[in-house]
């Protein structure tokens, strides 16, 4: 059974349709990446999945169970299984690194403070920031903040991690430190779904690539298929502009 | 016997009240105009004057913005007669409000002077504008855009501020409300209606000002 399944998912901002009948499925441990031109709806798709934008039609199933996005209880349960890392890191400015990572486990999941902190320290060590536990977000570089954001997402022990262009807001020198962390997660077998412009990385790490344009998934396949032999004209156009042979 | 709400004595007096509202608007308008003139001279004194001009203006602004308008008018109305200046309640209120407004408008216009952008003036000069043309086409529009929201806000506040004229017997909206109250004793009804009239006046005024600001000066203001 696929861990995550989308069937004919639709969404719009007011009257403007943004997602148009998206359908695909994700097996446990798969790493799916979503590429495509700006405005194609990639980030919107992630936002819909995590419940920040209500879908206007279609179904989303997690482990076979359909999610009713209008039901608050369903959405809350979903969010404990699906974690998202944003392009702008969105760390809580008024808390230090440790508290940023522990606040959700403690306040939402009711974990005891000591347990949450122990696990948080482990995660922060893994992303290479064990020495910055009490730093505040404005004292960290973009790359460091993004790594904290990843640790924060992992603290909730999600089954699926969504990564929304996590390197797009970073200075070029800082991109690799974040990609290294994502590689670690991939190696651990975490199911991931990410949107990215880093094509070399996408190619290296993904098990499946989806190409989106105008709110629709127009083509999907292995990285080799999409990058070396794209079928659809739109995909071909995009790939040829992005990759240099 | 419990108090029962009864508007029947009030409706026939609505035109009377609205007449008072008109007077309120007039007072606010006159005081605002007078205040703008004071404000212009005051701001210029603060921006360009030497210490002998600046200090008195600073003192005037400080005094009038840190003390209540009501007491300022009390002073003008009750203290000046001792020194030979007898003013009718209407005039005392008008002068008091004008002086009060003048102080705030000095502050606002001073901020307007300070907001003038050197680079804009230099650009205008290099394009061949004369000093006068620079003022008319570059500086003034810029200042009006910055100043329009605070000026509008002050005007609305002044319109509400005219209500204290009632204390001196001036028959603007609140004053007439007091009259109706002493005639009919329907206090809650008359003051609620008065409140509603003030709310409506200010909404209409804000709306009109916001529209005028957008059209004339490209200044953006929220109505809500």
């Amino acid at each position: 059974m696929p861990q995550l399944e989308l069937v004919d998912l639709r969404a719009s901002y007011g009257d403007v349709p943004v997602l148009d009948r998206i359908s695909f499925s994700v097996e446990k441990g798969e790493i799916i990446s979503l590429i495509g031109p700006s405005g194609s709806g990639k980030s919107t798709l992630l936002r819909v999945l995590v419940g920040l934008l209500p879908p206007s039609g279609g179904t989303v199933r997690v482990d076979g169970e359909a999610i009713d996005y209008r039901n608050k209880v369903d959405v809350r349960k979903l969010r404990s299984r699906l974690a998202i890392v944003f392009q702008q890191y969105n760390l809580f400015q008024n808390m230090d690194v440790l508290r940023n990572v522990t606040i959700a486990p403690v306040k939402i999941k009711g974990q005891p403070q000591a347990d949450a902190e122990a696990y948080a320290k482990q995660l922060l060590d893994r992303v290479g920031l064990g020495h910055k536990l009490h730093a505040f977000p404005d004292e960290l570089s973009g790359g460091q903040q993004q790594r904290v954001a990843i640790a924060r997402a992992l603290a909730l022990r999600p089954e699926i991690v969504l990564l929304d262009e996590v390197t797009s807001a970073l200075d070029p020198e800082l991109v690799n430190e974040v990609l290294d962390v994502v590689r670690l997660l991939a190696a651990d077998g975490m199911t991931m779904f990410f949107v990215s412009h880093e094509m070399a990385f996408v190619r290296e790490v993904s098990s499946k690539v989806l190409f989106m344009a105008d709110g629709h998934v127009t083509e999907s396949g292995t990285p080799a298929q999409i990058f070396d032999s794209p079928q659809q004209p739109r995909t071909r156009e995009f790939v040829s502009k992005i990759l240099r042979h | 016997m419990a108090y029962s709400i009864d508007f029947s004595d009030i409706w026939p007096r609505l035109p009377y009240l609205l007449g008072g509202a008109w007077l309120s608007l007039q007072i606010a308008f006159l005081a605002f105009c007078g205040g703008m003139v004071i404000g212009l001279f005051g701001a210029m004194a603060q921006a360009f004057g030497g210490p002998w001009v600046r200090r008195p203006v600073d003192a005037y602004v400080s005094l009038f913005t840190n003390t209540p308008q009501l007491v300022q008018i009390y002073f003008i109305f009750f203290a000046l007669p001792d020194w030979g200046v007898l003013l009718s309640p209407y005039h005392a209120v008008l002068i008091g409000m004008t002086l009060n407004a003048g102080a705030y408008l000095t502050q606002i216009q001073r901020a307007g002077f300070a907001s003038v952008h050197r680079p804009e003036i230099e650009a205008a000069e290099t394009l061949g504008f004369s000093k006068l043309q620079s003022v008319r086409y570059v500086i003034l529009p810029h200042i009006m855009r910055t100043l329009f929201p605070p000026l509008s806000n002050l005007y609305i506040l002044m319109t509400l501020g005219t209500s204290m004229a009632a204390v001196f017997g001036v028959e603007e909206l609140t004053g007439r409300a007091f009259n109706v109250n002493s005639e009919t004793f329907r206090s809650i009804e008359v003051f609620s209606l008065t409140a509603v009239v003030y709310i409506l006046i200010t909404f209409v005024a804000t709306f009109l000002l916001a529209g005028a600001g957008r059209k004339l000066f490209r200044a953006r203001m929220n109505v809500f």
Binding site: L52, K107, L156 | N66, P68, Y74, W83, M164, Y198
Partner: protein, 229 residues
Amino acid sequence: MLQQLFDAAPRFFSYYNILFLLQALVATFLLSLVGCVLGFLLGFVLAVTRRTTGWRMAPLRALVVTYTEAFRRIPFLVTLMLVFFAFQAARLDTSVFVVALCSVCLIATAFIAEIVRSGLDSVHRNQWDAATAMNLSYLQTLRYVVVPQAWKVMLPPAFSFFVLFIKDTALASQIGVIELTFAGKVMANKGFPAALTFGTVLVLYFALSWPLARFGRWMEARLAPARAR
């Protein structure tokens, strides 16, 4: 002219009179302070209510919007009269000070609700997104994320409002509250020259308002840099 003032001054500045004026000053200060503190608490509740989403809260939100928009557009004197006669009609036998305090509170709540709302809005949308995505509830997000960041933006304007309102309390004299303006009227009625009494009252208001205003500006300068993040 001025001679008359100098003659009257010693009698005016008698021990009892000075005490009276100072008590009135304290009443003025307290009227604004207590009214604004209560106004802040209630205004906060109103602003938080106004920011909720969901149709169940819609009637409450409509009420809040009507209240805040209305009470910011009524002159203080009219509010004072309404509260005064409402208390009378309800046969509530309280002092005029309490009536004035309620009026201050009503108006302060409306204005401060707007100030709080701006403060909450100043926190970037993405802080809310991150919190929601982690399942923090509306109130939890406010408590742990938004308010800790927003209070620095809210406090200076709220304090400013308090200082401004000290001047509006002068109108409470019209219903007989023994605050500074009323004290001035009493002294003038006793026969002291109007220039002396109202002049002194003006000086006392200045002495109260100006230092507080300066403090407010200092506070804004200290808290504002934090906004540059």
